[in-house]
């Protein structure tokens, strides 16, 4: 199965489970969780089911295209099921089966792993899922997002699709993954990996990035004050990415690090709060189940 087919299969599988198949979000980010289709939609009472591929950037993980397992740009396949269904693990295992991984032939384990993102003010409990000793998926029940309790709780499934592809295709290097016939992962991404590694570690202009961070931070606040939720969130994402770039460049000392993370977290909280208020003003349009809606209204009145 080539890389492209793997993605299409997952789309197909989760599409059949009633997920909206969304497209990647067009701002740089470190993980699929930061896509507003997860970070914002996980907040508040409305149900939500979505699946998408997310290009994810981790500037510090760049290895100039020389390490067979590390990339500064890779893909996550992200699924959000809100509320978490009772059979969520069975669903996940069925998706593996759909990829040709038959659980009974392998050793699949759910090993405790608690996820936390200090920049997003988010955390959850769950597992890393092992396939014959290799972590292929991160599974999390969101407990908090942007500092707010999640109710209902979402299940987040994040597949490491390069790893799964390497396993299925029996490749030792991520660059050898076959994307489609005759085109490898290296053909698509290798030169960019090299260039970005040079940029992230050597060429990035610390002064420029620092001013950009400050400008984006101000813009996020200014826009959020006008209750323009997603535009404000874009600037939170930009801040987060700029911080990661500065970090990779070695421009952030340990003391400053804590302060930067705190600044991004404050922005994330602010946007989360704006989002919650906006959805309430809109009267929770996705809350289509009458009983649920009535129950929620009763609960909100009690509060």
């Amino acid at each position: 199965m080539n890389f492209q087919e793997l993605i299409l299969r997952l789309h197909n599988f989760w599409g059949q489970q009633g997920c909206i198949i969304q497209q990647p979000y067009d701002v740089e980010k470190g993980a699929g969780t930061m896509n507003p289709a997860t970070f914002l939609r996980a907040l508040g009472p409305e149900p939500w089911k979505v699946a998408y591929v997310e290009p994810s950037r981790r500037p510090t993980d760049g290895r100039y295209g020389e390490n067979p397992n590390r990339l500064q740009h890779y893909y996550q396949y992200q699924v959000i099921l809100k509320p978490s269904p009772d059979n969520v693990i069975d669903l996940y295992l069925a998706s593996l089966r759909d990829l040709g991984i038959e659980p009974e032939k392998h050793d699949i384990r759910l090993v405790e792993d608690n996820w936390e993102s200090p920049t997003l003010g988010a955390w959850g409990l769950g597992w890393e899922i092992w396939l014959d000793g290799m972590e292929i998926t991160q599974f999390t029940y969101f407990q908090q997002c942007g500092g707010f309790d999640c109710l209902p709780v979402s299940a987040e499934i994040t597949y490491g699709i390069e790893r799964i592809a390497m396993y299925i295709q029996n490749k030792e290097s991520v660059f050898d993954i076959e994307w489609v016939d005759g085109i490898s992962y290296a053909d698509v991404h290798h030169q960019a990996e090299v260039d970005y590694s040079h940029y992230n570690f050597e060429a990035a202009d610390v002064g420029a990035l620092t001013s950009m961070f400050n400008i984006c931070e101000e813009e996020a606040v200014r826009v959020a004050e006008r209750q323009l939720v997603q535009p404000a969130y874009d600037y939170v994402l930009k801040c987060s990415h700029l911080f990661n770039l500065l970090d990779a460049r070695g421009a952030i000392s340990v003391t400053e690090r804590t302060a930067y993370i705190g600044r991004v977290r404050n922005l994330a909280r602010m946007v989360a709060r704006e989002y919650l208020e906006q959805r309430k003003r809109l009267n929770y349009p996705l809350l289509k189940d009458k009983n649920l809606r009535e129950q929620l209204i009763i609960e909100e009145e009690v509060l």
Partner: protein
């Protein structure tokens, strides 16, 4: 007839580290709640796997015991008016209790008379009680971290997916959120499908076994260890014995099958600690050694399932480990290119603690304090100490320690040897973290001992100076462990050092920072904290608490001296002359307790017995002083015990509290002088 109860809480995969504690809690909660519900029971057993917690209570009584309720009502003075008629309050109480007013009793509580309703309550059937009781037990289980799921409020370590509850041959019916208890279970996640009906408790155990679930954790553990040994043996090696790993693996699988995997011998170039850490911490594999104790290029993994397609599982695991070891080899080669001194230069960019400066600041403090402690202990040469203190934190800047923090010190020693540092320096770098956990070895090289004392003192003083102290179970900086390490090193190495001086010196290192506590307070609190640890050490070694209290009432800042004094006292407590000793002490101490002066006017003494004591005093004082100086406490104690005859004689012959003030003062002076000889060693009034 008494019947058995079976409860199975079906969950999504539980964190393995929670399980032992959760099973113990489940047992205790069941016992406690049954007792409170006045239901008797036999044996209580609990078992668990990643997907289930199981409780089996044998022979629960069919009915609750009857109970006598004694409910207190209003005061008699309020409930009954002056004419002896019931008041509104009195009648109200009777009504609320469902008891005729005339049947209420009057009882006195704390000198006040109250109305009491005495009611006999008939016990209910156990099957009525159990649903609520099981709910309470389940909701009372707590975990280090718990979560909610879906729309629900219930908190548990992971979502609850089914509940099986059987009492005798009936279901116990209750709900947790959308889960209704029933009489079915589930087998192994991948080797069984669908719900499995359970007709009886015996049937439950049979069904699980048939569906590839080994319920009993002890049985799984035994199976795993036997398989691991066998697989390692077949490969010509011996698996590492590691109780913690075995425990963890036992709670990661429901049906274990061990297998052997290999890696390229070229990775053996990396230090063995790195390889084993990678195998254990990342992959939960058992490392394998040959007969000479050298690592073999292989490992034993344990699969959750049977041997079906085991080769596929093995190949997958080998590939994963290969990628890990490839990383490790890369780190090792990268790190080995730099000298420790180069790594050390980066410490200025890393905080030790946000209020206590960087690691580079710490290194400077360690260098100074190590020299001081080196001098106090007379142990090590200044140059070696300076060098090892300078380099002891450098490995924190290596790729390897960044990846495997638990290898700090170990990597430092390798990199020091690689950078051609002196062997003593390399050893001290490793040893300065010792002991790392309870039961760990202590540092043994001279520089290692000094640097370890220095490191711990600096950590402790830093935290105490800004008001970080352990409270209850909270000790995030492991200060108790470090203080205990300090005590153990001092006692084991028989070091006589003035801890107060050392702590004062340590405080100086922090003085430029903004601190919460003054030097005096910090030193005092830290001394108390350290002595508290020594008290624990003494109690553990069997010294009775009264002896410890007595000796620690006269603390010296020399921990080793105090320790010896306590041991000698404990020993002396068993000696035949101990009784004499205590008689002398009690007689001289009781009367002179409130007297301050040791002054004696010999001219007023009358009786031969008191003149005798007076004459003996100077020599006795001298001898005891000499004994104490030589830390020969036994000799000092015996000298005092030997006073028995003279003291008895004295008390038989004279009255101390006579009217003649001068005579009284002289006699009290004699007693006080003797009492002070006792007091210089311990407060013997604390001996029981």
């Amino acid at each position: 007839m008494a019947q058995d109860l079976l409860l199975e809480i079906g969950v999504e995969e539980m964190p393995s580290a929670y399980m032992l504690r959760a099973l113990k809690d489940l047992e205790n909660l069941a016992r406690k709640n049954l007792a409170e519900a006045r239901l008797s029971c036999g044996e209580v057993l609990t078992w668990g796997t990643p997907r289930r917690l199981c409780l089996w209570v044998k022979e629960i009584s069919e009915e609750q015991e009857d109970s006598l309720l004694e409910n207190r009502g209003p005061k008699k003075s309020i409930a009954i008016d002056a004419n002896g008629n019931p008041s509104k309050a009195g009648l109200g109480f009777a009504r609320s209790q469902g008891v005729d007013f005339r049947k209420l009793q009057i009882r006195e509580v704390g000198g006040v008379e109250y109305l009491f309703a005495i009611k006999k309550e008939k016990g209910q059937a156990a099957e009525q009680i159990l649903p609520g009781l099981l709910l309470k037990v389940i909701h009372s289980l707590s975990f280090p971290k718990s979560m909610t799921w879906s729309y629900y409020q219930t908190r548990f370590a992971r979502p609850i997916r089914w509940l099986l509850a059987i009492f005798g041959d009936k279901n116990v019916e209750f709900n947790i959120e959308n889960i209704k208890s029933a009489n079915y279970t589930y087998g192994h996640r991948f080797l069984s499908t669908g719900a499995l009906p359970v007709t009886s408790i015996d049937d439950y155990f049979r069904v699980l076994r048939e569906h590839y679930v080994i319920l009993d954790q002890a049985e799984r553990k035994t199976m795993i260890w036997q398989q691991v040994q066998k697989v390692a043996g077949a490969a010509g090696g011996k698996a590492m014995e590691n109780e913690e790993l075995l425990e963890e693996v036992a709670f990661l699988v429901e049906f274990p099958t061990a297998f052997y995997g290999e890696f390229s011998p070229s990775y053996l170039a990396v230090p063995p600690e790195v390889l084993t850490t990678s195998m254990i911490e990342h992959q939960r594999y058992f490392p394998v050694y040959n007969n000479e104790g050298r690592l073999l290029p292989g490992f034993v993994g344990v699969r959750n399932g049977t041997d079906y397609c085991l080769d596929l599982v093995r190949a997958g695991n080998e590939r994963v480990l290969k990628a890990r070891l490839e990383d490790a080899l890369f780190f090792w080669n990268e790190d080995s290119r730099k000298s420790l001194e180069e790594m050390s230069a980066k410490l200025k960019d890393v905080l030790f603690h946000e209020r206590l400066g960087t690691l580079a600041d710490k290194v400077l403090r360690l260098q100074k304090l190590a020299l001081f402690i080196g001098q106090e202990t007379g142990l090590s040469q200044p140059e070696k100490l300076q060098r090892s203190a300078l380099l002891c934190k450098a490995d924190l800047m290596s790729n390897m320690v960044y990846e495997f923090p638990e290898l700090q010190g170990i990597m430092g020693r390798y990199y020091a040897s690689g950078s051609a540092e002196e062997p003593e320096v390399a050893e001290a770098i490793f040893e300065h973290y010792l002991p790392r956990f309870a039961g760990d070895k202590l540092p043994s090289s001279a520089a290692g001992i000094v640097l370890s004392l220095t490191e711990k003192t600096d950590n402790l003083m830093g935290c105490f100076s800004i008001g970080i102290k352990p409270s209850g179970s909270q000790d995030p900086y492991a200060l108790r462990r470090q203080a205990l390490g300090l005590v153990n090193i001092i006692l084991d190495k028989k070091l006589s050092i003035d801890l107060k001086l050392v702590f004062e010196q340590a405080y100086l290192g922090y003085e430029d920072l903004v601190l919460e506590n003054s030097r005096e307070d910090s030193v005092k609190e830290l001394l108390d904290f350290v002595y508290q640890r020594m008290r624990g050490v003494l109690l553990d070694s069997g010294v009775s608490y009264d002896v410890i209290d007595a000796a620690l009432s006269r603390p010296s800042f020399d921990l080793f001296e105090t320790y010896n004094r306590v041991l000698k006292l404990q020993e002396f407590k068993g000696s035949p002359v101990f009784e004499d000793f205590m008689v002398v002490y009690n007689r001289v101490h009781n009367l002179s307790r409130k007297w301050e002066s040791e002054e004696i006017d010999p001219d007023v003494l009358l009786d031969e017995s008191e003149k005798n004591l007076y004459r003996k005093l100077p020599e006795l004082q001298q001898e005891i002083k000499t004994s104490l100086k030589a830390q020969d406490y036994t000799r000092a104690l015996e000298l005092l015990a030997a006073l028995r005859a003279d003291v008895d004689q004295f008390f038989t012959a004279v009255m101390v509290m006579v009217e003649d003030e001068k005579l009284k003062a002289a006699r009290l002076g004699i007693l006080k002088s003797i009492a002070n000889l006792f007091n210089s060693m311990a407060d013997f009034s604390k001996i029981v």
